[in-house]
Structures are given as structure tokens and as C-alpha cells.
């Protein structure tokens, strides 16, 4: 068991941190960028690609860089630290499905362009109302139904869509500019973007074999996304906590710095406990994903549940310990709370994951993290 980054990984972290701390050097900069569509900086996106960050999880033969979950987690955490709004999660989710399910041609076509930053992907997986249905007519497939919210769905160059097939769940590539696809984009509360995407007999290309059930692949892709989101949250919590402790040290009330008030510093100590516990669990889940992917779905639930608790605790208390200033959009900390709330409700919130864990809690004695 080893929790330390090697030197290449440390270099990656420093490079990404260097880039993102320049791109998002202040709350104001981020507010400006998220104000107008597509809600992120195309320039930063390109720079991330140039740095190699976008191709990390994909095999070299597909056009990726052949790194693994740890490298992805490093990028995700740095994204979380500055709340970078770029569609990195969608790349992991949708790109991962292409890599797992796609034919050699599909992989060659998509992955390389994703790694170059030339293709923004989005995974449309959340049905609103009836499930999206895929229908075959000979070799031709079409989709009908509505997905919402689809994160970054309006900007995406290519949609990866889950749909109901006779075999269960199928995954399809859809050109969003094709006939029968209607996208309506909007802002999300954390400064991000989402869309309603309606399919009305839209042409779709199956990813891999459409007569097989892709449920497991989708579950694994989501687990990857959950774990990456967990790291993003860990980065965000770390900064929210440091910002709060810094404020307690410098802000004066009643003639003394706030950290004179033990009721406040003890609460900060409890925040630290929450943050550390979440960090441990998320890091472990990344290692499970790397070394025992067959346990990754469960590990991701464990990580997401812990992140949910910690994110609420830290998000709420960071504002409260700041007082009024924490409520304002000009100050950073409220944006962290907003983002942590969004992360909690993306790919299953804390109680959903806890319910999953609860449903299998009597299947084992102790939980052994080492396996």
C-alpha cells in the first residue's frame, strides 16, 4: 500500500497547477469566463490538451497517453482547487466509454481528437421522463427520447448517449448537428453548462456491439467519473478550508482576530477531519480502480458517499465561518460551496450511494481496504 506520487506524477501535478492557477487566478476571472457560453475557456482547454492532460486515461494505441487513474485524479484535484469549469469530467466519462466499448476505428477516430482537445465530448445518460430508446432498422440505428441535464451538452462536438435496446442498455455516438437532435443549453448554478437534448429519430452509431448489454461498462464509466469528481471535490474542499482558516486568522471582530474564538477554531478542526477522511477514501478508490477495477463500482460509492458528507459539512461551514462575505459572488468561498453541491448531485448523491452500500451491508463482515 503506497499513497505517494512518483516524480512524474508530481511533475504532472505541478504543471497542471501552474497552468490552472494562471488561467483562474481570481474569482473575478472565473466569473467572467463562466458568464458567457460555452462557460469555460477554449484556450485553457487547448492548453490542457497541449500539456497532455486530456489524453491521460487512454491507451497510446488509441491516441491517448497511456496513463492511469492516478494521473486523472491529479488533474481532477487541480481542477477542483480553482473550480476550473472545463469539461474534463465529460471527457473521462464519455471518452472512457468510447475506449471501453468502441471498435478500433471508433477509438482511432475519437480518442486522438479528444486528446488533442479538438473534440469536446459529453455523456448523455440521464433520462428525464421515459428512457431514450434505440431502434434498429437493418444496420441503421435511431434514437428517440430526451436526456436532461446533459453536462456541456450544448457545446459538445460529439454525444455519447445511453439508450434502451432489446438487450438492455446500449451506448451510441450521435452527431449533435444531425437531424432529429435538438439541444437547449443553459447555465447550471455552479457556473457550468448543461442542456436538454431531445432525440427524435436521430441517427446514431452503436459503440461496439449493440446486441450486447452495456450496463456493466456504463457502471464502470460512471465509477470512473465518480472517483474523478471525488478528487475534484477534495481539491475544492482543501482550498475552501484553507481560505476559511486564513480568514479566521486575519479577520477581526470585537477587536480581536476571529481565531481567538474557540467555538470557531474547533469547528475548523472538525472540517479538517472531514476533509482528511474524504481525501483518504477517494485516494483509495483511485487505487482500487487502478489495481482491482472489478471492485471499482463499490469503491466509487464509498468515495462518493464520504465526499458528499464532507462536501456538505465544509461547504456549509465555510460560508457560516466567513459570515456575510461568504454569501457574495465576489468572494470565492460561496462558489466552492456551489460547486461542491453540484458535484454531490452529479452521478448520484451521498444518500443514493449510501443506499447502495446499505443494500449489501450484510453480505460481508469487516471491510478490508487492502483486498
Amino acid at each position: 500500500m503506497d499513497f505517494t506520487l512518483d516524480s512524474e506524477q508530481t511533475a504532472l501535478r505541478d504543471a497542471v497547477r501552474g497552468l490552472l492557477s494562471k488561467s483562474y487566478d481570481s474569482t473575478e476571472t472565473r466569473r467572467e469566463i463562466t458568464k458567457t457560453d460555452p462557460g469555460f475557456s477554449e484556450k485553457t482547454w487547448t492548453q490542457l490538451a497541449e500539456l497532455g492532460a486530456l489524453g491521460l486515461p487512454f491507451a497510446e494505441e488509441d491516441g491517448g497517453f497511456g496513463a492511469g487513474p492516478v494521473e486523472v485524479s491529479i488533474v481532477a484535484e487541480e481542477i477542483g482547487r480553482v473550480l476550473a469549469p472545463e469539461p474534463y469530467l465529460e471527457t473521462i466519462l464519455a471518452g472512457g466509454l468510447v475506449a471501453d466499448l468502441g471498435s478500433a476505428e471508433q477509438r482511432a477516430d475519437v480518442i486522438g481528437r479528444v486528446a488533442e482537445g479538438a473534440l469536446v465530448l459529453s455523456l448523455a445518460h440521464h433520462d428525464i421522463g421515459d428512457a431514450v430508446v434505440a431502434t434498429a432498422s437493418g444496420d441503421t440505428w435511431t434514437l428517440s427520447g430526451v436526456k436532461e441535464p446533459v453536462l456541456h451538452g450544448a457545446r459538445a462536438d460529439l454525444l455519447v448517449v445511453t439508450a434502451r435496446t432489446d438487450a438492455g442498455v446500449g451506448v451510441f455516438l450521435v452527431d449533435p448537428s444531425a437531424d432529429g437532435v435538438e439541444r437547449t443549453g443553459y447555465r447550471t448554478h455552479d457556473g457550468g453548462r448543461a442542456a436538454r437534448v431531445a432525440f427524435d429519430g436521430a441517427a446514431a452509431t452503436p459503440l461496439g456491439d449493440p446486441t450486447a448489454d452495456a450496463s456493466d461498462a456504463v457502471a464502470l464509466a460512471k465509477a470512473r467519473g465518480q472517483i474523478a469528481l471525488g478528487h475534484e471535490a477534495v481539491g475544492a474542499m482543501d482550498v475552501a478550508l484553507r481560505t476559511t482558516t486564513e480568514y479566521l486568522k486575519t479577520r477581526k471582530q470585537f477587536g480581536v482576530p476571529l481565531n481567538t474564538f474557540q467555538a470557531l477554531t474547533f469547528r475548523a478542526a472538525d472540517l479538517y477531519v472531514s476533509a482528511e477522511l474524504a481525501r483518504s477514501t477517494v485516494t483509495w478508490a483511485t487505487l482500487v480502480l487502478q489495481d482491482e477495477p472489478e471492485r471499482a463500482v463499490e469503491a466509487a460509492s464509498r468515495a462518493k458517499m464520504q465526499v458528499s458528507r464532507a462536501g456538505r459539512h465544509i461547504g456549509q461551514e465555510a460560508i457560516q465561518l466567513h459570515g456575510g462575505i461568504g454569501m457574495t459572488a465576489e468572494y470565492s468561498v460561496g462558489h466552492y460551496t456551489s460547486r461542491l453541491t453540484a458535484i454531490d448531485h452529479t452521478l448520484g448523491d451521498g444518500s443514493e450511494h449510501l443506499a447502495r452500500l446499505a443494500s449489501t451491508v450484510t453480505d460481508h463482515g469487516v471491510v478490508d481496504p487492502i483486498g
Partner: protein
């Protein structure tokens, strides 16, 4: 001891319920029920309807439009209003500056301001908080220098809620900078917001909304007759006002209504999910406990002074408000992200507003005396710690 309302109080409750559910436009009540923002006009319209019926400022002295109600009746009025989704009379007018003017203002000031305040012909803003003061309100630095018949005001106020609608602002200003204690040398001054040198700057909050403002005073000249009570006694008036504010602030009725609405919105999900049902039942019980505590406090505050336990109401009331906003976000799940969705969206209205409301209500435990201040009051005043 008895459970039921007296016949008189039961009739009073019925009267209030009927009035609120029939005399206030449905569109306004629907907006409140949907937890959407009200327009200024809707707030003014409601208050004028209430005022016409004598129901806008029952807590004021009878000669200025108040009612000689028992504390329980006032409580019933307040609860029924919330349960009917009727927007309460503007707190700045009805609960804050009005009672202060009525208690401490000169006859001229009363006549000039009270009727217009009750009828919301004047929209009052509050100018208490300052950027460097926070919970330590008394360390305020806005200065009013006396020059002949005028005060010349310089400084800055902040967290001025709905200041963008304000016609007048009631302020705490420092009139004696040399007073030995920071609580001394403060005066309570009424300022016309159209005065030259006064500017209002919006503050965007984390929910994206604009409900608070900064107010800047640059050599703003204020007639000395706009002083309430005596010069340098402003801190006493402020304490009187803050005590009133705390009593009015336990939002039990509206939180109950939100929770009941959440049950309807969630439909079968609650009955099918024991964990969720347990959460809802727990919140419901905590709200009941709070409401009953409010009734107990009401029963023991007959002398008109705020009961120290009113800090319990503020503290727990805001915690439960926040817990219910959190429940809405969880019920909305992934749909809670779609705050910016427009008409074509399949995301229901309540889910779209869920996170902005959750974020917005983090303020509840900060403004109007933070929960830390309330704990301090409980520890010191009630427990003697």
C-alpha cells in the same frame, strides 16, 4: 393547561385564515408557494391590502394602526399568514423602523412617517451593518457631523437587503466619535435615499440573485429633524429593534408549508423509501417541537419584552429552514443542477430553484444576528455562562 384554542382565539384564527386565503391575490400567493422572487409591486400590493384591513402592523401602538392583540393572537396572525403563502409586511417597515419611531420618535416624526410606513408608501431600507463590523455592530464607523440644522453623513453600509427598492434608509451613525465606549455616541438617523451623495451598489450573492446592496454616503446632508429620539442614544434604539427582530424571525409557518409541499412534489417516492420518509418525519417533528416552543415563548412574553428563549427560535428556526432547503436539493437530485433551465426544459420549476434557494438560505444563519450570536445570548443570558 389546555390544548385547544379558546373559542375567541379559534374564531380569530378562522378569521385570519379566511382573510389571507381570499383577500390576497392568488398569483402572489402562488409565487410565494413556488419559492419564486416577488416583485416590488407584489409586496407593496399585499401590504396595502393588509393595511387597509388593519392587519399590516398589529404590533404597533393602537393609535398608529396597531391592534391590542394578545401575544397568542399575534402568533396566530403570523402563522396563518405564512401557511397561506402571504408575504409578510415588509420587516424593515413593520418590525424595525416603525416600532422604533412609534416608541422613540417625536410627534412630528411619527405623524410624518408612521402612516406612510404602515402602508408601504415609503419603502424603508436598513443601514446598520458595515463592512468592517460584521457581528460587532457597535464598531460602526459611518459618521454624521452636525453642521447647523443638518447632519453631514460619510461612510458605508452593507448587506442592505432590497436596498434597490428603498425610498428611505434608517441608519446608525456615529455622532460622537470621542465617546468612551463604542456603544455610545451613536445616533438613529432617517435618510432620504434620493439625497445627493447617496449611492446604492448591488451585491451579487452566490445564488446569482441581487437582494443585498452596499450603500455609500458621501457628504450626504440630512436635516436634523430626521433624527429619531435623542442624539447619541441610537444604540438603545437599535437594541430595542434587534430584540423585536428576533421575535419575528422564527419562520415556522413557512418552513412547515415548504416541507408539506416537498411531500407532495416527491409523491410516491417518500412512501417507497423508508430512509427518506424517516428524514422527512424527523424534520416534521423538529418543526413541531419548534412551533410548540414558539407558542410557549409567546405565552411568556406578555409584557412585550422579547423572551430570552427567542434566540432558540432564531437559531433552530434557521437550522430547520436550511435543512428543508437541503431536502429540496436532494429530492431534485441531478435536476438540481438545472438552475438556468428555461421554458422548454423538462426540469420542474421547484427543482430548478432548489439549489439557488439552498445557497441563498445559508444567509439565514448569518443575517439578523448570526447563530453564533444567538448561542452567545443563550449561553450568557439564559445559562449565565
Amino acid at each position: 393547561m389546555k390544548l385547544r384554542l379558546s373559542e375567541e382565539d379559534a374564531a380569530f384564527r378562522e378569521e385570519m385564515r379566511t382573510f389571507f386565503t381570499t383577500q390576497v391575490p392568488q398569483s402572489i400567493r402562488d409565487t410565494v408557494a413556488a419559492r419564486r422572487e416577488l416583485t416590488k409591486d407584489q409586496i407593496v400590493e399585499t401590504q396595502q391590502i393588509l393595511n387597509a384591513a388593519g392587519l399590516a402592523v398589529p404590533n404597533w401602538p393602537v393609535e398608529w394602526g396597531g391592534k391590542d392583540w394578545t401575544p397568542l393572537q399575534r402568533h396566530i396572525w403570523h402563522e396563518e399568514m405564512q401557511l397561506a403563502s402571504v408575504p409578510a409586511p415588509l420587516a424593515f417597515n413593520a418590525s424595525m423602523v416603525g416600532p422604533v419611531i412609534a416608541a422613540f420618535g417625536s410627534q412630528e416624526v411619527k405623524e410624518r412617517f408612521l402612516p406612510a410606513t404602515a402602508n408601504l408608501d415609503i419603502w424603508w431600507s436598513q443601514g446598520f451593518s458595515e463592512p468592517d463590523a460584521g457581528s460587532d455592530l457597535a464598531s460602526l464607523r459611518t459618521v454624521a457631523r452636525r453642521e447647523g440644522d443638518e447632519y453631514v453623513v460619510n461612510g458605508q453600509k452593507t448587506w442592505t437587503t432590497l436596498g434597490q427598492y428603498g425610498d428611505w434608509i434608517f441608519t446608525l451613525v456615529r455622532t460622537d466619535p470621542d465617546a468612551p465606549k463604542k456603544q455610545q455616541g451613536i445616533s438613529f438617523l432617517l435618510i432620504d435615499m434620493t439625497s445627493p451623495g447617496l449611492t446604492v451598489r448591488p451585491i451579487e450573492l452566490i445564488d446569482g440573485g441581487h437582494e443585498v446592496n452596499e450603500v455609500f454616503f458621501e457628504d450626504v446632508r440630512v436635516p436634523a429633524e430626521n433624527l429619531v429620539g435623542e442624539e447619541n442614544r441610537g444604540w438603545d434604539y437599535a437594541k430595542f429593534l434587534l430584540g423585536n427582530e428576533r421575535v419575528g424571525v422564527a419562520p415556522v409557518g413557512s418552513t412547515k408549508r415548504w416541507l408539506a409541499a416537498a411531500k407532495e412534489l416527491a409523491g410516491d417516492r417518500i412512501a417507497g423509501d423508508p430512509v427518506l420518509a424517516t428524514r422527512v418525519a424527523g424534520l416534521e417533528n423538529e418543526l413541531l417541537a419548534l412551533e410548540l416552543t414558539a407558542l410557549r415563548v409567546v405565552a411568556h412574553s406578555a409584557d412585550g419584552k422579547p423572551h430570552p428563549a427567542s434566540s432558540v427560535l432564531k437559531l433552530r428556526g434557521t437550522e430547520l429552514q436550511q435543512a428543508v432547503t437541503e431536502l429540496y436539493v436532494d429530492l431534485a437530485g441531478p435536476l438540481s443542477l438545472a438552475s438556468g433551465a428555461g421554458d422548454g426544459s423538462g426540469v420542474p420549476d421547484w427543482a430548478r430553484v432548489s439549489t439557488p434557494q439552498y445557497l441563498n438560505f445559508r444567509k439565514a444563519s448569518i443575517y439578523g444576528g448570526s447563530n453564533e450570536v444567538q448561542r452567545q445570548i443563550i449561553a450568557k443570558t439564559i445559562l449565565g455562562l
